[in-house]
């Protein structure tokens, strides 16, 4: 027996196994769609993380005994929810319906993960929704999502502390910076805000508010313009605030941040409408001390807001009863009772037209010292740049920005460098997906 013969046998065996693997991995099959017989009882599965959606689903189930919806709660999209959906799509185990935020719809399209709703007649309902939100799911001749809610932005602030310190709530970003300085003097433990270096979705919205438009399509080619003067100005503004020690650089939306909000160590949050539920849930001790004002402006007298977040209900590829699933998605997002239940959970700003006045949104909030805060958000909703587009690599784009911000906070480079590096990296990401790109 020689070593050589052993080795040869081993190689032959390995080749056999590898070719088995290749065969095993070749067979993608299209899942079947079915038609429901009248009177047939079916169950649709629905993945979502939106608080309050369970109550809406219960309502639907009590009214539709034949078409039951089984809600499965998943982690929020960027915290593992989308990873789960992509992986379920690959294994052919995807649910019929899922929560898909506007910024990732193109990502799901690129993986061929969404059902085109146009052949199912979704076009008849276009008029029920706010136009720009409808457009988030419309590509070419297809419509791939039923819009649910958006996140118009404003400024949450601790009215009691601002009053105690004699500081007026800022209306421009210049005033915001001055207020930040005075807060540091008034209370050495307090900061006006944090700049979360790991949450570039928030930064993206602030850049949009300043007038940046990062992505566009001409023909078949993507146009990427992240490092525009508007974006650089926003980046440099927060970089200066950071270097002057006027803001924290801790992450937002996690327990240290909640502890800071509870204790009055962070006194404003430039956030979206869905943030009200987060404040009420995580800083219950501060009830009655908050108010909401419009987002600060770059030029005095302007009224520009931005959108942060925003979500749709989509049918994932493989949905077994697409007609019934679509019917549920439309009901969930237009039925007034359903909308009221979603609002109570804090899902955001309704995408259905005219859902504000008279709804559960149109009321004073005790938590916000009796203010009708949604009047501010209704105004903000009118002042959003509605032509913003998302690329099919948004998740990676966010991470590209985060990397630069983190590096800057750790002492390497500036926020503006981060934007420039993200521009280059994002172009490369799109190209690596096999798409055509031109740099602005």
């Amino acid at each position: 027996m020689t070593r050589g013969s052993n080795l040869r046998r081993l190689l032959v065996a390995m080749l056999g196994v590898v070719s088995f693997a290749a065969v095993a991995c070749g067979g993608d099959q299209e899942p079947e769609t079915q038609q429901r017989e009248p009177g047939q009882k079916i169950t649709l599965t629905f993945w979502s993380w939106v608080p309050g959606v369970d109550k809406a689903v219960d309502l639907w189930n009590s009214e539709n005994p034949e078409v039951q919806v089984k809600l499965e709660k998943i982690p929020a999209g960027n915290q593992g929810g989308y990873a789960k959906m992509h992986s379920a799509l690959k294994s052919g185990e995807a649910p019929d319906l899922a929560q898909v935020e506007y910024q990732v719809i193109p990502e799901f399209l690129l993986e061929d993960g969404l059902v085109d709703l146009a052949p199912l007649g979704v076009g008849d309902h276009e008029g029920d929704f706010v136009e720009w939100q409808w457009q988030q799911g419309a590509f070419g001749d297809g419509v791939y999502a039923v819009p649910q809610a958006s996140g118009p932005m404003a400024m949450f602030y601790r009215a009691d502390l601002f009053e105690k310190w004699g500081i007026a709530p800022p209306t421009t970003w210049a005033e915001y910076e001055q207020a930040a300085r005075r807060i540091r003097q008034a209370d050495p433990n307090a900061y006006i805000s944090t700049f979360p270096p790991g949450n570039s979705a928030w930064f993206t919205s602030l850049a949009a508010q300043a007038g940046a438009r990062w992505f566009d399509i001409s023909g078949d080619t993507w146009q990427v313009d992240m490092d525009t003067p508007e974006t650089i100005e926003v980046a440099e503004y927060w970089d200066r605030m950071r270097q002057d020690g006027l803001v924290k650089t801790d992450p937002d939306l996690q327990n240290g941040w909640y502890a800071d909000l509870q204790a009055g160590r962070i006194v404003t949050w430039v956030g979206a409408q869905w943030g009200d539920a987060i404040l009420m849930g995580n800083a219950p001790e501060t009830a009655g001390k908050w108010r909401v004002a419009p987002i600060p402006q770059w030029s005095e007298g302007e009224q520009r807001s931005a959108n942060w977040g925003g979500s749709s209900t989509a049918l994932l590829k493989g949905a077994s009863y697409p007609e019934e699933a679509l019917k549920f998605a439309l009901w969930l997002n237009t039925d007034p009772e359903s909308i009221d239940l979603l609002i109570a959970g804090g899902y955001g700003w309704p995408a259905a037209k005219g859902a504000f006045s008279g709804s559960a949104l149109d009321k004073p909030y005790e938590f916000f010292s009796g203010q009708k805060i949604n009047e501010v958000f209704a105004e903000a909703d009118q002042n959003i740049d509605k032509s913003w587009k998302w690329i099919p690599t948004t998740t990676a784009m966010y991470e590209n920005l985060n990397q630069g911000f983190r590096a800057a906070v750790a002492g390497q480079g500036s926020f503006a460098d981060s934007v420039r590096a993200a521009q280059t990296k994002t172009v490369a990401d799109l190209k690596a997906k096999g798409l055509r790109v031109s740099e602005g």
Binding site: C25, P51, S87, K90, A277, I278
Partner: protein
Amino acid sequence: MRASLRSRILVTALLGVLALYFLLPVYWLLVASTKSTGDLFGSSGLWFADFRLAENLVNVFTYDDGIYLRWVANSVLYAFVGATVSTLLSAAAGYALAKFAFRGRETVFNLVLGGVLVPATALALPLYLMLSNVGLANSYWAVLLPSLVNPFGVYLLRIYTEAAVPDDLLEAGRIDGAGEARIFFSVVLRVLTPGLVTVFLFQFVGIWNNYFLPLVMLSDPALYPITLGLTSWQSFADRQPELYQLTIGGAFVSVVPLMIVTAVLQRFWRAGLTEGSVKG
């Protein structure tokens, strides 16, 4: 040998300090599991506030129709079935490698040794894609199958068999006319018992603690083990703050039986050892 009093005090004090380090997080967990969400963020972590352990535990077990108990059952299933089968397979393979001379023996053994050195997480991604193409991803099999292969167990049991199973015993069985299978199941396995227990425990804890494999393989919460279930609760917690408390309560409940198990495991461990004359 008698040690001086000074060195006894010194060594024992040092061990005491180290014990504090190892116990501190467990103590914190115990205290935290008795608190409300508000107290969790608003009171000292080292002492009890409003005592609500019972209420918290009820929440852990009833939330989402008692999904937590299902996760416990899944963890037990994965770890117990996986460790049992993999120990048997390893024993058979280790026995073959230790007690038979055949062509290709060293090749197989070297391949197995190489397998010990490959990080399991590097295998999980391609394995996921392969299993999803044969329709096995997101099923009990997706976590169980990879847990059945334990190259390190083969390595340990080969060495253990060489040392513990005398050739005469096998020959005696053969002369009595027993078949090879019977010799293995009724003679070899009995002699190997202490080694089998060790390999079983290694693999059991390995599967119990595994996170990456189920994270990659599973999307249905009904199939989750505890590790995945608790992190999923934690990831919802920013929108549903009460889940912080559930995560902590769930962690507490899962750690307590493990403390008991490790105590039992210690006894087994010692049973399998040659008792030295050093006082222990």
